[in-house]
């Protein structure tokens, strides 16, 4: 057998999850084209199953030591597996929510599960990228699927606007990414992360390399909607159908954070002093702006958009810290943040006020009296996102604080603390509406699946899970140790 052939056969077993997703996407398209709306339920169900299976495969298929596959374009390792599992499970949950929602509204378009699977495939490539081309391909695959998802309601002006806005701005950031990559390639002579790292540690590259790095960081900050590159987020979140928003708020964030960790700690580990400043600034601005701007929002989805900007800031604060603690704290932060976030969206999707989907903070009024159980769920989820103990989100905040302080970024931790207080203010505004405002009209849950998802998410953010924290810690730490 020839060498490339050999490499391919050797690589395929490490790409089972990716193959599964790609296979599902192809089969889904065929099935959908053949049966159209009738098979929406079937394809969605298959999609959820495929995503779950991909998550499990990513975990079980993780090698004991990093393995380069596809001629060094991708790598299969522990951190990638952890991130992939997280992405796949989050996407499965949001796909479930979406399928339920679109079935009830009659928008049974089979492309939805297929596009979600393709976006997740892109994310998988992102988090296991080992060279600049793979990185770009992963980012673009994810983004292209996301544009279409944002413009899902093509007859609806807001949805189309969201899709277009997302596309135009995202294309600019992709341009920045390519431009930055070309600098990096030009000044180091390679697109492979290990070769770049070697060139950096030999002191090669100089200002041009730093310039390329900063451009790439800006592009990645755009993809993860870190301030000041967040402008698209509130509009897209508001305009896109709610299940799509829930999807945007979950899986892509993990992928972006994991990719950022890869870029920072693999090729550019030698430039830590340079990028630490940039990432710390991104973190500080995101935390502060995310929480300040959220104070003024009345629309639930816009509010959650700013909340996600603030939370990405906290995860970035973890990344600043340097090897081991940085990636561990950022990943665990996302792990604890995601379930709560998905749970909130599940509740937003599940609630109907006088038969209409809830849209604004005021729509939640009186929930505690009409639906005490849902109010309790909402309360737990929001406090978890706000990082108030004893909920799981607190542990995430604690870890990123610790990572920042240990790395000597005490000022960043203090900024984070103040931002968290401001952030708490707007979560409290939601809670005030839920608990303190008198009930008006009918407030009823629309579906059981969403409620169950929310309950499950709340259970995950509940202190009982804290018992599992030891396991999560060891697991993530082992993954990161193996990688660095």
């Amino acid at each position: 057998m020839s060498a490339p052939m050999l490499d391919l056969t050797r690589s395929l077993p490490f790409a089972q999850a990716e193959l599964l997703l790609a296979g599902f996407a192809l089969v889904g398209v065929l099935l959908g084209a053949w049966s159209n709306a009738r098979a929406f339920g079937l394809i969605s169900g298959l999609g959820v199953a495929a995503l779950l299976a991909a998550g499990v495969l990513a975990l079980t298929g993780a090698p004991l030591a990093p393995v380069e596959i596809f001629q060094g374009a991708l790598v299969s390792d522990g951190v990638g597996s952890v991130a992939k599992a997280l992405i796949a499970f989050a996407a499965a949950a949001t796909l479930l929510l979406g399928a339920e929602h679109f079935s009830s509204t009659g928008e049974k378009k089979f492309e939805f599960p297929v596009l979600v699977a393709l976006a997740v495939l892109g994310m998988f490539v992102m988090v296991s990228a080992r060279d600049l081309i793979a990185l770009y391909v992963g980012v673009e695959l994810q983004s292209l699927a996301a544009y279409v998802l944002a413009a899902w309601r093509r007859d609806d002006a807001r949805s189309s606007e969201a899709g277009l806005k997302y596309f135009v701005l995202s294309a600019i950031s992709s341009g920045l990414l390519l431009f930055g990559s070309s600098f990096v390639y030009g000044f180091t002579g390679s697109i492979r992360f290990d070769a770049i790292a070697a060139a950096v540690s030999e002191g090669g590259g100089g200002v041009g390399l730093t310039f390329g790095l900063v451009l790439m960081l800006c592009a990645l900050a755009f993809k993860m909607s870190a301030a000041p590159f967040h402008m698209w987020t509130p509009d897209v979140y508001e305009g896109a159908p709610t299940p799509v928003t829930a999807f945007f708020a979950a899986a892509p964030k993990v992928a972006a954070i994991a990719l950022m960790a890869r870029v920072l700690y693999e090729p550019f580990a030698g430039l830590t002093a340079q990028w630490q400043q940039v990432v710390a600034a991104l973190a500080a601005i995101s935390m502060v702006w995310g929480s300040l701007a959220a104070l003024l929002q009345t629309n639930l989805k816009r509010l959650m958009a700013y909340s996600s900007i603030g939370n990405i800031g906290f995860a970035l604060m973890g990344l600043v810290a340097g090897p081991e603690q940085g990636p561990v704290s950022a990943l665990v932060y996302m792990m604890l943040y995601l379930p709560a976030n998905i749970g909130v969206f599940a509740l937003i999707l599940a609630l109907r006020r006088d038969g209409v989907a809830v849209d604004t903070v005021a729509d939640l009024a009186g929930m505690a009296q009409r639906r005490p159980w849902m109010a309790a769920l909402f309360t737990m989820l929001l406090f978890s996102i706000a990082g108030i103990p004893p909920f799981a989100g607190f542990i995430g905040k604690l870890l990123v604080f610790r990572a920042a302080v240990d790395a000597g970024f005490v000022w960043l931790a203090v900024v984070g603390g103040i931002a968290a207080v401001v952030g708490a203010a707007y979560y409290l505004r939601l809670l005030a509406s839920i608990w303190f405002a008198p009930p008006t009209g009918q407030l009823a849950p629309a579906s059981g699946v969403n409620l169950m998802t929310a309950t499950f998410a709340a259970a995950l953010s509940f202190p009982i899970l804290v018992l599992l924290l030891g396991a999560i810690e060891n697991w993530t730490q082992a993954a990161v140790r193996m990688w660095l």
Binding site: A368, A413, G470, I472
Partner: protein, 504 residues
């Protein structure tokens, strides 16, 4: 009997019994289909009362296993957790007395909450969760665990004030939450820094580290300030006390009681557990600042209290003044000062809790707290007037009530360090007599002019049951303060010794 329970994790049982009870109520609600009616509400009230009484009994059992003369942490439990933190519980004499105060007062609060009609089950569930978190604060022996309990208490309190409070309840709830959270998060950053330096989150280990190697004095200043930000707000000290009057006025009676009697003590407890033993140098350095703030709090809050037209607000300001004595005594740093501060915390817990209950009695009947509305209550409510008189005297610090030993000891302690501070505080004692007695005269004495008061009824049986334990407690530790003082002496001496290790 006590041998039977020797190996049990008593502190965890005491701490989590109320939470288990809350779960029981939640389950009962779910299984009954969530329909509320009068019978169900009464059942929930009774169940909650029983749970809190059982918790009190369990805490007494823990007390019987506790060696009053032992040093260090007793009844210790330690289970490794994650991320370097551990589930470590333990009590010394200081913690034990505050735990007992908490479990003693909570059933009385539940009795006082009988008149709550709105969303009874939710109210009781939140109250039980609050009790768990309060007990946990005093038992936690790991800084992270401490922080979890310390800050977790904000959640039920926020909802309690916001849902069952008075007219400006939403404003008060937000102010309470955000003020306290800002202080706490700065403390969290400091906690993280301490763990990073000392390599442990165990409070005993940290204290040992501070005694043997010590935190860098320059860093101590910052750590101390971060902890101060949290505890000073909680205490509350002048000038960060402004959340307290709002929260008190708007909170339902029982929440006011818990707020005054227990939540405020967390600030004093924090100073004693963290600031003095762990940052002795910084504590010495900042003593003048704390003294100044304490005296301002005592004098100024007393004067402000004098001008209040709302009974609850008046008592809230008197709490600020009394907490001034506590901080003064703590930072005197000698045995008298700290003993006095501990005593004052316990006494204030009983007396101010009882005063808020007294307000609750008339508020339940008339739905106003305006001083001018009342007058001449002694004619219609002689028993109530007598009880109110006793607790007013306790508030003033009359010898024979529990208010006296604490005040005198903190002043003696402060006098040894700085005579002027003690003199300023003594001025506050006079003022406190002025406002408290004026309040009493206006409410209880005089002629019964207001026609709406003509049919006001004296205490009913439930209120009797609520007040009797408090009356007994006030008088017993007022006449025999040594019961408390002898008990808390070992933990006080440990703190004094640790504080003396710092540079003067």
């Amino acid at each position: 009997m006590s041998e039977l329970f020797a190996g049990w994790p008593m502190l965890s049982i005491v701490t989590f019994l109320p939470a288990a009870g809350a779960l029981l109520i939640l389950l009962s609600r779910v299984s009954l289909g969530g329909e509320e009616n009068r019978g169900y509400d009464n059942g929930v009230r009774l169940l909650t009362l029983i749970i809190t009484l059982v918790t009190f009994a369990a805490s007494l059992l823990a007390f019987s296993l506790f060696d009053p003369h032992g040093s260090g942490m007793q009844l210790a439990e330690n289970v490794p957790w994650a991320f370097g933190a551990s589930y470590a519980m333990g009590v010394d004499q200081l913690s034990m007395s505050l735990v007992l105060l908490t479990t003693f007062l909570t059933p009385l609060c539940i009795l006082a909450s009988w008149s709550i009609e709105k969303q009874v089950a939710s109210y009781m569930v939140l109250f039980l969760i609050l009790e768990t978190l309060m007990i946990g604060v005093f038992c936690a022996q790991d800084v992270i665990l401490f922080y979890v309990f310390f800050e977790g208490g904000l959640i039920p309190m926020f909802i309690l004030i916001g849902v069952w409070g008075g007219q400006r309840r939403v404003y008060a709830a937000f102010k309470f939450f955000l003020y306290t959270l800002l202080g706490s998060l700065l403390m969290l950053v400091a906690i993280v820094a301490m763990i990073s330096i000392a390599g442990t989150g165990d409070i005993q280990e940290l204290t040992r580290f501070a005694a043997e190697r010590g935190f860098d004095p320059a860093l101590q200043i910052w750590l101390w300030l971060a902890f101060f930000a949290s505890f000073a707000v909680k205490m509350p000290m002048w000038p960060v006390h402004t959340w307290l009057p709002d929260a008190h006025v708007e909170a339902p009676t029982a929440a006011s009681v818990v707020l005054a009697a227990i939540l405020l003590k967390m600030g004093g407890y924090g100073f004693l557990r963290f600031s003095l033993p762990m940052f002795p140098d910084a504590s010495h350095y900042f003593t003048p600042l704390v003294f100044a703030l304490s005296v301002i709090a005592i004098v100024w809050a007393s004067l402000v209290a004098f001008r209040q037209v709302d009974i609850k607000k008046l008592i809230a300001y008197s709490s600020v003044a009394h907490m001034g004595f506590v901080t003064m005594g703590i930072f005197a740093g000698n045995e008298q000062g700290i003993q006095g501060a501990t005593f004052q915390m316990l006494s204030h817990g009983i007396v101010s809790g009882a005063l808020f209950l007294c307000v609750g009695v008339v508020y339940d009947r008339m739905h106003t707290r305006e001083i001018a509305f009342y007058g001449g209550l002694v004619h219609r409510m002689p028993v109530y007037a007598a009880i109110f008189m006793l607790f007013t005297m306790g508030n003033v610090g009359l010898p024979g009530t529990s208010g006296f030993p604490g005040e005198i000891l903190t002043m003696v302690g402060a006098f040894q360090v700085n005579a002027w501070v003690a003199a300023g505080a003594a001025l506050g004692v006079i003022f406190s007599a002025a406002y408290a007695l004026t309040l009493y005269r206006k409410v209880a004495f005089g002629t019964l002019d207001n026609p709406k008061l003509a049919s006001i009824a004296d205490l009913d049986a439930r209120e009797w049951v609520t007040f009797v334990p408090l009356i007994l407690a006030t008088l017993i530790i007022g006449f025999a303060p040594s019961i408390v003082l002898d008990f808390t002496a070992p933990s006080t001496q440990a703190i004094v010794a640790a504080f003396a290790g710092g540079a003067p």
